[in-house]
């Protein structure tokens, strides 16, 4: 099509998206960047909002709580994602092997349910199931004569609780991604693979696993991005507590910004988080998305 002449009608179709994303995507980020170099405490307005150079960033770098929250986020990732991948692959292999077609269809449809449940409500359900006195989890434990656990009252059980809830919600997602990987394998490839590699582990490792690789990489990086964003479920379930034991990075920044009301420092933290997100997402998009060709 016309490369030389400016194609105004086409521009008019794409312009709204560009303008809107500039206004609500880029402008707020520049605003945050500006705030991050200012003194900006909402509860201490008398201090004014003058520039303070890199003072907020220095404060963030010297703030052990910020680094701990990042470390905790990494721990949370290690607690959840490997299990989600293993369970997800196992479930996918199972559903792929189900002989009765209607059953595998129903399972694939129902796996969607946990993914869609509002994370806030997931947090509320967690409060109910992990309640110390009448929760279902302690009832399960009592069936094995185990003493009740104060899931939300102590640091380590609280971390396990949010991890278990995350595993419940996102394992089905991993399973569905893996199922679509398995469905790419043609019957011919599978049959000749069975002749060479037999069944079981060998078949999985030599024939099926390569087809799961793109899905696996997608899952890893999407889960990374989502865990860096994770707020709703944790906020409702534990508020980052007890103490700061489940305060993941987004929960921490939200507290500094909207419960301590130090916008300057919170913005500096957010900018650092943004840089982390950009680095990771660049890697992600480079790795998986073929660019749009003509």
């Amino acid at each position: 099509m016309s490369r030389q002449r400016v194609n105004w009608p086409a521009i008019s179709l794409i312009a709204p998206a560009v303008i809107v994303l500039l206004a609500i995507g880029i402008y707020p980020l520049l605003f945050a960047l500006d705030i991050s170099f200012r003194q900006y405490q909402l509860t201490k307005q008398y201090l004014g909002t003058g520039y303070v150079g890199f003072q907020n960033y220095v404060a963030v770098f010297n703030d052990p709580l910020f680094w701990q929250s990042l470390l905790r986020t990494a721990q949370f990732f290690l607690l959840t994602v490997p299990l989600q991948v293993v369970l997800g692959v196992l479930i996918a292999l199972f559903i792929d092997g189900v002989r009765w077609r209607p059953l595998s269809f129903v399972m694939r449809v129902l796996l969607v349910v946990p993914i869609a449940v509002t994370p806030t409500v997931v947090g509320l359900i967690g409060r109910l199931l992990f309640n110390r006195d009448f929760g279902f989890m302690n009832y399960l434990l009592s069936l094995f004569n185990a003493p009740p656990v104060s899931w939300l009252g102590e640091p380590v059980p609280a971390m396990l609780t949010i991890a278990l809830v995350d595993i419940w919600q996102w394992t089905p997602f991993v399973a569905l991604v893996m199922i679509s990987g398995l469905s790419m394998i043609s019957q011919d490839v599978l049959e000749s693979g069975q002749l060479e590699a037999g069944r079981g582990w060998n078949l999985f490792w030599h024939v099926q696993a390569p087809y799961l690789l793109p899905g696996l990489t997608a899952v890893l990086i999407l889960r990374t991005a989502d865990i860096l964003k994770l707020f709703d479920m944790v906020f409702v379930l534990t508020r980052g507590g007890p103490g700061v034991s489940t305060e993941l990075v987004s929960v921490y920044i939200q507290r500094v910004g909207f419960r301590v009301f130090d916008m300057g420092v919170a913005s500096a933290q957010a900018i650092l988080l943004l840089i982390l997100c950009i680095v990771l997402s660049r890697g992600y998009i480079r790795l998986f998305y073929r660019e749009i060709e003509a």
Binding site: R3, P9, A10, L13, I14, P16, A17, V20, L21, I24, G25, P28, L29, F31, A32, F94, G97, R99, W100, L103, M107, R108, L110, V112, V113, P114, I115, A116, T120, V121, L124, I125, L128, F134, Y139, S142, F173, V177, S180, P214, A218, L222, K229, F231, D232, S250, I253, Q254, G257, F258, M263, A270, L273, L274, I278, S281, F288, Y289, E291, I292
Partner: protein, 283 residues
Amino acid sequence: MSARSHAQRGRSRHTFTYFWQGVVAVILMAAFLMPVYWMISTALKTTTDTFAVPPVLIFQPTFEHFRAVYEEGTVAKSLVNSLIVATSATALSVLIGAPAAYVLARFNFRGKSDLWFWIISNRFISPIVVALPFFLIARDLRLLDTHLALVLVYLTFGVPLVVWLCVDQFRAVPREVDEAATVDGATIWQVFFRINLPLAMPGIVVSAILAFITAWNELMFALVLTRAEARTAPVEAANFMTGFGIRWGPMMATGTLIVLPVVLFALLVSRNLVRGLTMGAVK
């Protein structure tokens, strides 16, 4: 071994496979659906039954919690707010995103892949990064506690979602259709609205449903940007956790009301949900 007994053994082995696969399937589905069942059943239980140890599985259902929630009015109001905000954000996302997707799918220009990359990358930005400045901007513009502020901020994920899913959809429409129409004297606008939009409708509907679910479920922006008037349902639900004595019944009734519509929508697009969540990385 005679042919007949061989067939018999084969059949019984099949029966056995069906059997154990059925058992595993039931256990798996029970594990994944139990929390949702627990929410709904707690919403329908009397308060005494809720606190029963061991938990009661068979009970006389009551609608008292739903009635209480309805009569108090704040939850109903928040659901209406959520509906207004999520619907407007979805409609605007499609209105803005679909034409952009069409241009990205059809035309070549300098910087196209950078533009596309930038639009998509909005998916990866942590909401807290946008929430801080958006709060201050909305406060200065006196937009706090309005539907408009939420609708605008929800476009940050709605538009990228629609653009990405629809680019694929528009590329599936054969180019020859466009060219034939252009030869007949149609403008780009006509080609887009009269020909491409109807043909891409299935993909647009899926992207709209996904945008709606995401907006409906969102908590952080709503928590930060609304107070009493424009408060959405997730914020209202989270509020049950503050104050003394948690009212489990009404809380779970509220949860049920929030979750029901999105779960139905998700079941409707279950085949495309994964593609949407991975932004097309997985077919």
